[in-house]
C-alpha cells in the first residue's frame, strides 16, 4: 500500500471530522444516526488508506450491517417523543465549559505525545513476521488474533457472551406492530442470504493467508440474520440450539486451550504442525457463535406468547 499522502486523504479526513461532529451535534437524532452510519462507511475507507484491510473488512461489515440496524431499531422503539432532543444538544453552557476545557486539555496532551513519537519505528512487525512460519497461517493479523494473542480473542468472545446474557436478562420488549409482509423484502432475503453465507465462508477461508477471518465473516452472517429477522421475525432466546450456538465458540476455544495445556506446551500454545487446522477449527466455531450472538443482540428478547 502506497504510504504517501494523496489528495484523497485530505478529502477523507475533512469528511470524517465533519461527519463525526454532525453525527453528535445534529438536533434531529435520526439525522445524527444516518450521519453516524455514513461516518462508519468512511472510517472503513480510512482503514484501507492506513494499510489495514482486515480492520476495513470488519468495519464495513459491522458499520453497514449491525451498528446501523441497532441504532435505527432503537430509534423506532423510542417513538417520536423519545427520539426528540433539544435544539442545541451540545451547545456550550457554563456547566459544559469544564467538559470542553477537559477535552481540549486532552487534545493538547495527545497531540504533544503523538508529535513526540518518532516518525518511523520498528514496532512489533519484525517479530510477528518471524514467527509466522510456526503460527499455522500466513496472514499476520490472523496469526496475532488466534495465536500470538489468543487470550485476547478468547476473552473477547467472553465479552460477547456477557453482552448477549445482559440483553436476555432484561425484561421482554413488546413486539413492534407487524408490518405487512413485503414480497420485495423476501426477494432481498432469498438473494442475499445465500450470498452472505458464501461470502462469510470465503472470508473465513481466505483469512489464513489474506485479509479476512472469523470476525469479518461473522459480522457478514449477522447482517444476513438481521435481514432474516426483518422479513420473518425470529424468536431467538427460546430455543436450545440457539443457546448451544451462542456458547459454541467460547467452548471450543477454551477446550482447545485446556487440551494444549494438558497435552502440549501450555494454555493456547498450538503445536506448529497442527496450528493451521486448530486455528481453522476455532475460527469456524467462533464465526458461528459471534454471528448468532450479534443477531441475538439485534433481536433482543421479544415478549413470549403474544403475537
Amino acid at each position: 500500500m502506497a504510504a504517501e499522502v494523496h489528495a484523497l486523504d485530505f478529502v477523507l479526513v475533512v469528511l470524517l471530522l465533519w461527519l463525526g461532529w454532525r453525527a453528535l451535534a445534529s438536533a434531529d437524532l435520526f439525522k445524527a444516526v444516518v450521519q453516524f452510519i455514513v461516518f462508519g462507511l468512511l472510517v472503513s475507507l480510512a482503514w484501507v488508506r492506513l494499510g489495514a484491510p482486515d480492520v476495513a473488512l470488519a468495519e464495513a461489515a459491522i458499520g453497514a450491517g449491525l451498528a446501523g440496524a441497532l441504532l435505527l431499531d432503537t430509534l423506532a422503539r423510542l417513538g417520536r417523543k423519545g427520539a426528540t432532543d433539544e435544539v442545541r444538544p451540545l451547545g456550550l453552557t457554563p456547566a459544559r465549559a469544564g467538559i470542553a476545557l477537559a477535552s481540549l486539555g486532552l487534545v493538547i496532551l495527545l497531540v504533544a505525545s503523538v508529535l513526540a513519537l518518532p516518525e518511523s519505528w520498528p514496532g512489533l512487525t519484525a517479530p510477528a513476521l518471524q514467527q509466522l512460519g510456526a503460527s499455522g497461517v500466513t496472514n499476520p493479523v490472523t496469526a496475532t488474533l488466534l495465536n500470538y494473542r489468543g487470550y485476547d480473542t478468547l476473552l473477547e468472545i467472553g465479552v460477547l457472551l456477557l453482552a448477549v446474557l445482559g440483553v436476555w436478562i432484561l425484561d421482554a420488549e413488546a413486539a413492534l406492530p407487524a408490518a405487512p409482509a413485503d414480497p420485495m423484502l423476501s426477494l432481498l432475503l432469498r438473494v442475499l442470504l445465500p450470498l452472505t453465507v458464501a461470502a462469510a465462508g470465503y472470508l473465513l477461508w481466505v483469512g489464513a493467508h489474506a485479509p479476512g477471518g472469523a470476525f469479518q465473516g461473522a459480522a457478514l452472517l449477522a447482517a444476513g440474520g438481521v435481514l432474516w429477522h426483518l422479513a420473518r421475525p425470529l424468536s431467538l432466546p427460546a430455543s436450545r440450539p440457539v443457546r448451544a450456538a451462542v456458547v459454541l465458540g467460547f467452548a471450543v476455544f477454551l477446550g482447545v486451550g485446556v487440551a494444549t495445556a494438558v497435552f502440549g506446551g501450555g494454555f493456547l500454545t498450538f503445536p506448529p504442525a497442527y496450528a493451521g487446522a486448530v486455528i481453522l477449527l476455532i475460527e469456524a466455531a467462533a464465526m458461528v457463535s459471534i454471528a448468532v450472538i450479534m443477531v441475538a443482540l439485534f433481536v433482543g428478547r421479544p415478549a413470549q406468547g403474544t403475537k
Binding site: 417520536r80 413485503d182 420485495m184 423484502l185 432481498l188 438473494v191 442475499l192
Partner: protein, 116 residues
C-alpha cells in the same frame, strides 16, 4: 501508441464517464425537488456510474477472479440499491394507504398528513 496504451486510454475514458454519472446523480439528489425524483437521480449514479467504473477497471484486471469480483460487486449494488430504493419509495407513497408522494417543506399538502 501500443495496444496497451489504447486499452489504458479506453479504460480511463470509461472511468471518466462513470464519474460524470456520479456527479450527475449527486447533483440530482441535491437539486431535484422531491423524494421520488431524487430516487430517480440516485439510480443513475448506482447503475451507470458504478457500472462504467467497473467496466473501465475490468479492462485493467490482472486475472479472471478479479473480473468476477468486480462484476459481482456491480450486480450486487445494482440489486441492493434497486430494492432499497423501491422499499423507500413504497414507504413514501403508501405511508397513509394512499399514494401521496413526500414533498418538500414549501408544499402545503404535507401538513395534512400526521405522524406515524
Amino acid at each position: 501508441m501500443t495496444g496497451e496504451d489504447v486499452r489504458s486510454a479506453l479504460s480511463l475514458t470509461l472511468i471518466g464517464a462513470g464519474i460524470a454519472f456520479f456527479l450527475a446523480g449527486s447533483i440530482g439528489v441535491l437539486r431535484l425537488p422531491d423524494l421520488l425524483s431524487r430516487l430517480h437521480a440516485l439510480t443513475k449514479a448506482d447503475n451507470l456510474g458504478l457500472g462504467l467504473v467497473v467496466l473501465g477497471l475490468t479492462l485493467q484486471a490482472d486475472d479472471a477472479f478479479q473480473v468476477v469480483r468486480l462484476l459481482l460487486v456491480w450486480l450486487l449494488v445494482l440489486f441492493a440499491s434497486s430494492v432499497a430504493c423501491y422499499l423507500v419509495a413504497h414507504s413514501a407513497t403508501h405511508a397513509n394507504g394512499e399514494p401521496t408522494p413526500t414533498v418538500g417543506p414549501d408544499n402545503p399538502s404535507m401538513d395534512k398528513r400526521d405522524g406515524r
